[in-house]
């Protein structure tokens, strides 16, 4: 019985070490949050038990916001050429793409 317990503990410890190593191997970089992927996106600052009810009762027209977010992207694109060229003609900056 004692032998079986030691064996189980040993297996558990081994599994734990493998998990830790796997996590380290992954560089601890998290995947994108599930709730932010398309389709599932609504969360309220309410107690967990009430979140769903609050979100259903909330009068928010997401489509209206989406149109303005699309406009924002295009409007902010005005600065992109300036930021790209500024990176190319400034010392000490690695070339990247700016946000818009």
């Amino acid at each position: 019985m004692a032998h079986k317990l030691v064996s189980m503990m040993r297996s558990g410890l081994f599994a734990l070490i493998v998990c830790v190593l796997l996590c380290m191997g992954m560089g601890a970089v998290q995947p994108p949050d599930r709730e932010f992927l398309s389709g599932a996106r609504r969360l309220a600052e309410a107690p967990p038990g009430q979140q769903a009810a609050v979100m259903k009762t909330l009068h928010v027209n997401y489509r209206m916001a989406d149109v303005s977010l699309a406009v924002r992207e295009q409007a902010d694109f005005l600065l992109t050429p300036a930021l790209l060229v500024q990176e190319a003609i400034s010392n000490g900056i690695v070339l990247t793409y700016p946000e818009e």
Partner: protein, 757 residues
């Protein structure tokens, strides 16, 4: 002794040389791709913007830029179609340096948020407060701050000994603080390098969430690596939407008494950049002054999921300029300024073209709500009756459609006056305190947030508006623009001479010439000189075609055809439309054509133009089955719309519809259109049936446009795509014409009974 001194001197010289060579080597062997200081540079940019919405589906922005390491300035000189844009940004000037973000907007010089300097740091972008296509241009400062906060510095990647590099050449970097104390969103990097050049780089925030992945391609020739393209994969982005609401819910606990609970919801999580974005920047050697610089010359941003082009930019005319910062600000303002002649043109345009009638003083008490309600009751409006069980039942709400009535002229005047009065009441000016808050970007006053006392007024206004839209409203004598004043005619001729010169001046560049042509076509309309209008439109279209602006050829060209049709110049409109449809079909891809045909300012608003365009586009070889189906569906929808317009004399009463009907009938007959509709619907349905599995997924008839926002939230219904919305519209036509009901599946369903043939 002498020998010893010579030897010592030689050692000193050698030491200095070694020191110089090491310093030089450090300077030269910088990591690629990275920037090199190059003074102040001026260049021009043409940006092509695509939108999936009811407004202009294509817009082009022309701007000049001045950029150096310490600051930059932008001046928007013109935009298309016809001076419009996704937002009207012409005359906007921005100068951003270490101290602040300066902005000026000549078109609305009294609007404080767009005519001020925002000190830096500008702070965090507040929760997103805009809706329905509105957006405060001054919030661009937050976009700049976000871009700077995720910049990568060469110093982040040095010294290499402190970094972990694996066998595959990937280095993990925890980035330090930025120089000059800039706030950094970037916290971690994974860099893949090869021979002192970066192959790719993953950017993460402090929670190790991805900010983007940069991939670099280099010119294959030469010893020094020179960047050819930068490909940035940008993920879906987190967004906070400001709702600022109190929500009352009644929790259901078994056996417990029902008790209301109120929760404050300041904002909700949301996403932007749906589908992700892939930006491709092309770099090239550009001679600037006495140097050759490696600079970005082209940018393309596509959706990552379906590869559709969202926007692009061409950078050109690079040159070195010798100005100080204030000189740049002055030059930018001068470049973007519309000039005195343009303001004279705008005054005349408002008087004769975009004429706003004056309806005189209101002769009733607008606070006598009983009277107003009685007036509204005289003209019954459509009502939406929810199905038993509400939204959850999934059944479609019923809409009652009362008979359209002739609104009496006196009532029409009164309704319009009251509607305008209530609108003004609801748009009270901002207080000084609100202005100060707005400057900080912490408030946005929208019509959507009304007090309890304002809500009944808003409801009355909405009903008055509906009467004007739904019933037949007569044209009042005040609606007619004034006769041409001889003095104005003289000024118009002077303006014509001025702008005719500008059209031929190539030093003004394409935006200057397009601006001049826009003014000339509007002056032609004022003088009712349609031959000149046709001539100027021809030049306008030629310029767009030569510049490779196919989307604008379609959108802007259509605007001019519409101008002719509205003035009943049907022959000229038809002639121009044939050329326009031929070239637009050849110069645009399926996405561009279908976006235009589904838009309210394009084919959806003018189904006749959509049919002409689609007839030509669908002859193009190489369309995929889905592309062919979407085109056929849009064609069937447009023909159905024209058929209904011609068949129902009541709907043709409205002035714009009457014009449209007259235009259609100038080239065909009611019977000919009627004959085309059913075969077009059958052809579209056949194309849908032939799609195989895609007909129940990608092309599934499913609409969220018809759902109220609240209904969509309750049902948890995902947004429909453009193709699914088109299928749903086709589905409704099939139901109406072939008597099939309830074919549109609910969000979770995939089944759609095929129309029996």
């Amino acid at each position: 002794m002498k020998k010893t001194r010579i030897c010592a001197r030689g050692l000193w010289v050698a030491g200095v040389l070694v020191a110089f060579s090491i310093t030089g080597a450090i300077g030269l062997c910088q990591i690629e791709p990275s920037g090199r200081k190059a003074g102040l540079i001026q260049f021009d940019v043409i940006s092509d913007l695509n939108m999936d919405w009811g407004g202009y589906t294509s817009a082009v922005r022309f701007a000049r830029y001045w950029v150096c390491q310490d600051y930059y300035a932008v001046a928007v000189v013109w935009s298309e179609p016809h001076g419009r844009d996704v937002q009207d940004k012409k005359t906007m000037v921005v100068l951003s340096d270490r101290e602040g973000f300066r902005i000026k907007y000549e078109l609305d010089a009294d609007w404080h948020p767009l005519n001020t300097t925002y000190p830096k740091p500008v702070g965090e972008r507040p929760a997103f407060r805009w809706g329905g296509g509105a957006y405060g241009g001054d919030e661009m400062r937050f976009a700049e701050a976000a871009a700077v906060s995720r910049r990568v510095y060469v110093s982040d990647l040095e010294p290499p000994k402190s970094k972990k590099r694996d066998a595959g050449g990937v280095t993990d970097v925890d980035v330090p603080r930025a120089p000059d104390g800039i706030t950094r969103k970037l916290a971690h990097l994974k860099v893949q390098t090869k021979d002192d050049r970066i192959e790719s780089m993953d950017l993460f925030d402090n929670q190790r969430r991805p900010l983007g992945r940069m991939r670099y391609e280099y010119q294959p020739d030469g010893k020094v690596p020179r960047i050819a393209t930068l490909v940035a994969d940008l993920p879906v982005r987190r967004e906070k939407l400001a709702v600022d609401a109190n929500v009352v819910v009644i929790p259901r606990h078994a056996g417990a008494p029902e008790q209301k609970e109120t929760y404050r919801v300041p904002d909700v999580n949301h996403v932007s950049h749906t589908g992700g974005r892939t930006a491709i920047v092309t770099y090239s050697d550009v001679p600037v002054g006495d140097k050759v610089l490696r600079l970005p010359v082209k940018v393309e941003v596509r959706r990552s999921d379906d590869k559709r082009l969202v926007r692009s930019a061409r950078l050109m005319n690079f040159r070195r300029v010798d100005l100080d910062k204030e000189g740049v600000w002055k030059a930018a303002k001068a470049f973007a300024s519309l000039g005195d002649e343009y303001w004279t043109f705008r005054r005349l345009n408002a008087k004769y073209i975009d004429f706003q009638p004056t309806l005189g003083p209101l002769r009733v008490d607008p606070n006598d709500l009983a009277f107003v309600q009685k007036l509204i009751a005289k003209y019954p409006l459509p009502e939406v009756i929810q199905p038993p069980g509400g939204y959850r039942s999934g059944a479609r709400p019923q809409v009652t459609r009362p008979r359209r009535m002739e609104v009496e002229p006196d009532d029409a005047r009164l309704i319009r006056q009251l509607e305008a009065y209530y609108m003004r009441t609801l748009s009270t000016p901002l207080t000084e305190e609100q202005r100060a808050e707005m400057k900080k970007g912490t408030i946005f006053r929208s019509g959507g947030r009304l007090s309890a006392s304002e809500r009944p007024v808003a409801e009355l206004r909405s009903k008055l508006r509906m009467i004007l839209v739904y019933h037949h409203v007569p044209v009042l004598p005040e609606d007619r623009p004034p006769e041409m004043d001889p003095n104005d005619a003289r000024v118009i001729h002077e303006l014509q001479a001025h702008y005719e010169k500008l059209v031929t001046q190539s030093d003004r560049g394409l935006p200057g010439q397009l601006k001049a042509l826009h003014v000339l076509t509007r002056l032609d309309l004022m003088l009712k000189d349609y031959d000149a209008f046709e001539r100027h439109t021809g030049r306008y279209l030629q310029m767009l075609q030569d510049a490779g602006l196919g989307g604008m050829y379609m959108t802007g060209g259509y605007g001019n055809i519409q101008n002719l049709a509205e003035r009943r110049q049907y022959d000229k409109a038809n002639k121009l439309m044939r050329q326009w449809a031929d070239r637009s079909a050849g110069a645009n891809d399926a996405d561009g054509v279908y976006r235009f045909c589904g838009s309210d300012l394009g084919g959806n608003g003018d189904p006749w133009a959509a049919v002409q365009l689609l007839d030509r586009f669908l002859k193009r070889p190489g369309l995929s089955p889905v592309q062919r189906y979407e085109g056929l569906a849009l064609r069937a929808i447009s023909l159905d719309k024209i058929d209904k317009l011609l068949a129902d004399p009541e709907t043709a009463y409205d002035e714009s519809r009457k014009v449209q009907a007259g235009w259609v009938l100038s080239g065909t007959t009611k019977a000919q259109v009627a004959k085309l509709v059913e075969p077009a619907v059958r052809q579209a349905v056949s194309a849908w049936e032939a799609l195989g599995p895609a007909r129940l997924s990608e092309a599934k008839p499913y609409s969220t446009n018809d759902m109220a926002g609240m209904q969509q939230n309750l049902m948890g219904a995902p947004d429909a795509t453009r193709l699914q919305e088109t299928s749903a519209r086709l589905d409704r036509i099939v139901s109406q014409r072939f008597g099939q009901k309830g074919t549109t599946p609910r969000p979770g369903e995939t089944k759609r009974p095929a129309p029996s043939r």
